[in-house]
Symmetry: C2
Subunit: 405 residues, 2 copies
DNA sequence: TAGGTTGACTAAACCGGTTCAGAAGGCAGC
DNA sequence: GCTGCCTTCTGAACCGGTTTAGTCAACCTA
């Protein structure tokens, strides 16, 4: 066999010595060395070879398209045609090529394909959240798991980037684009006047958004109506006799935060109530607790609080209990997220739930179609809906204790 | 300009028509079309070109190494040498090449580099958890954010795979390997007799583990001692006078679950107490609630419960409150995770905390060094430590109500 | 002055795919 | 028999890097 520098090179990077000579191993050191065998499928890979050379076990190489071509007695190009279901290949030849490819256990090299087709076969998701906020937030695990369910069958991968600040976020998108890591990105957690809409255009990244941005955007989107959830929560509380209802909102620079606040106010108005009190905070437990304390300090504290996520609502439950208020007797509370834990609290949490996993699945599917060049429509998912549990009940008839003379 | 099929091809995939002719757009349909400009840096990219052809705006192409070579008046190979800091390039030439590369805004193509060097410049993480379990679990967000902090500066990416079952998990690793997506993977959530140790070897994936597997393994690992946290929790409770202490454990097929259970029992024994009661469950809120109910049904119910995660502990607090037990007066509770929300409950949750983000950072760093071929040592991180809050207090002196005649 | 060495550099192969121009052969039509 | 066309297939270019063999001039040594 001819000595091929490349083959040798890639082999040594793919293999390691059976036993590192002691002299190379520093005391206490350890290398990740292990002998392995690149797995091949059914029949023996005729293109593979084994060879010990200088104590190095050569890894069996994966079959390439050239191996398939040689084994099938045709040219590389024809193999490519056959494998990509393109016309110009006779049925018999096509079958033979497919058979041979299968026998050799051939799998296309995503790397080579990427280089020649200028595609990455991967999608990107950049999450810009303080880890502290992300912990306890049930959104991303479910969302990512939904994305995955659409990606894996399509042979695509998800490149995830988690950054703490919005400055790092831009760098992250830039790196994805500069390195051609992904064929498109999913923009989530839209903000007011979100600079990412322009950024992805500048970077040449194909993108879709979760929700409609508030800036002109050509990007397709997957939409979930938050508002029916908030409306339902507020109307539920009003129906229970509550009149002084407060809203603990997420950051107002987040679009969904704004929308929830807005629909909170609108619903209050449409029932002839004043706009209600809105406290803006940051989605963290600490923020939710602080906001709740502020509300309790008011002369006429609200009899109900609509929180814009479950973590803050749970913290609110804690603050209420600590203040000697009984929920729901003295105070009703609603959350937003439908997180699992809410059902197991005492009192269990009335909340708004959405099918986050489905968002992920639909978003990934949509983006894949856009990348494939299809003409797509925006996707509307079932609106958020209210789950009534124990933390909401009829408004107290007596004035709340703190408002008593 | 010569017509170059490849350039034309890649251009059309990278650009879209300024305005899709109405006839191509189905009613209500919308394409993600947008004009963009692949961003280049400082000086005008002399290799770029603009051109309208048949109504299609050609994107400015990114400078390639060939462009740099031409502009610097040297060969491709020499440019590669200069850019990779390899010997054999005169200082003046090197400087000139670097200058030219910078002026052209040249960025190496990760794709081309991947193909020729047989590396992916990415790490993989496969998470096999039911999304329901993952929601509310503060581990992964923090862990991933730690990984990212080590990866981004190194120009590496994280390929994440979230699957629901262990069967899908194997397929996921297989796909990462088959597609050469990553240079290595981080194995977390080790199980008893974990098949992944053998799997990654078979697949030829470089890997590290979080914690020591219970099977022979050559893989380097990042280790965090769980046990001091559990030991501290149990000793804390014993010091408070508790004698009947139960443990609500995670699945026993998970190694960390086993270790926590074991050190629970050992600590009990070493203080002359019986092994305590251990209920195995699944880390979900529902599981934690169920286990707690079981414990309450006992004739001599425990006066303290050590939960192996915070979600279950929080559910336990709910069950206790629902049963009319006051925590910590009638029952002490400890969690495990140090999740944010625990500090804001009433009573706030005594828990065990670890620096999960640091695990991620160290794990990614270690794996990168292994991939780079360095000889590495296992990494030991600071052990978990107990955070005492309000949910644990002196054991009740009177027999618990349910045990009363 | 011939021969050997060194340093800087070029040319070309190579990674593993995709794509296109064109060759070869078969067949129909005139 | 010639032309034209279609189908099937080959050969080669190409994506954008990395790496090696080899060229060439300058310098050193005997």
């Amino acid at each position: 066999m001819r000595f091929d520098p490349h083959r040798a090179r890639s082999s040594t990077t793919r293999t390691t010595q059976i036993q590192a000579p002691p002299v190379q191993t520093t005391a206490g050191g350890r290398s990740a060395a292990s002998i392995y065998w690149r797995e091949t499928t059914p029949v023996q890979n005729t293109a593979g070879y084994t060879n010990t050379q200088g104590g190095v076990l050569m890894a069996k190489q994966r079959a390439t398209i050239t191996d398939v071509a040689r084994a099938a007695g045709v040219s590389k190009g024809l193999v490519s045609f056959a494998l990509n279901d393109r016309p110009g290949v006779s049925p018999e030849t096509r079958d033979r090529i497919l058979l041979v490819a299968d026998e050799l256990g051939w799998r296309p090299s995503v790397r080579a394909r990427s280089l020649s087709t200028d595609r990455s076969f991967a999608l990107g998701l950049v999450i810009a959240r303080d880890p502290e906020v992300m912990s306890g937030d049930p959104f991303f695990p479910a969302f990512i798991s939904g994305i995955e369910s659409a990606l894996a069958p399509a042979g695509q991968a998800l490149v995830l980037s988690v950054v703490g600040s919005e400055a790092d976020e831009e760098a992250s998108y830039r790196q994805l684009a500069d390195h051609d890591r992904v064929d498109g990105v999913i923009l989530t957690d839209l903000r007011r006047d979100d600079s990412r809409i322009a950024l992805v255009a500048r970077l040449g990244l194909t993108a879709i958004t979760i929700g409609h941005p508030d800036v002109p955007s050509d990007l397709p989107s997957v939409n979930v109506e938050d508002t029916p959830g908030i409306v339902a929560a507020v109307e539920h509380l009003i129906a229970l006799g509550h009149r002084r209802i407060a809203h603990v909102a997420g950051p107002s620079r987040m679009l969904h935060g704004v929308r929830r606040s807005l629909s909170f106010t609108e619903t209050m108005h449409s029932h002839g109530l004043d706009g209600g009190l809105i406290i803006e905070t940051d989605f963290t437990a600490a923020g939710g607790a602080r906001a709740t304390q502020l509300l309790f300090a008011l002369a006429d504290r609200p009899t109900a609080i609509v929180y814009s996520n479950d973590v803050m609502a749970i913290a609110g439950l804690g603050v209420a209990a600590r203040a000697g208020l009984s929920v729901p007797r003295d105070l009703s509370i609603t959350g937003f997220d439908g997180s699992d834990i809410g059902a197991h609290l005492f009192p269990s949490l009335t909340t708004v739930t959405t099918t986050v996993q489905e968002w992920g699945r639909q978003a990934a599917g949509l983006l894949l179609r856009v990348i494939a060049g299809e003409t797509v429509d925006d996707i509307e998912l079932p609106p958020a809906r209210l789950v009534i549990r124990e933390s909401s009940a009829v408004a107290p008839t007596t004035p709340p204790p703190t408002a008593a003379p």
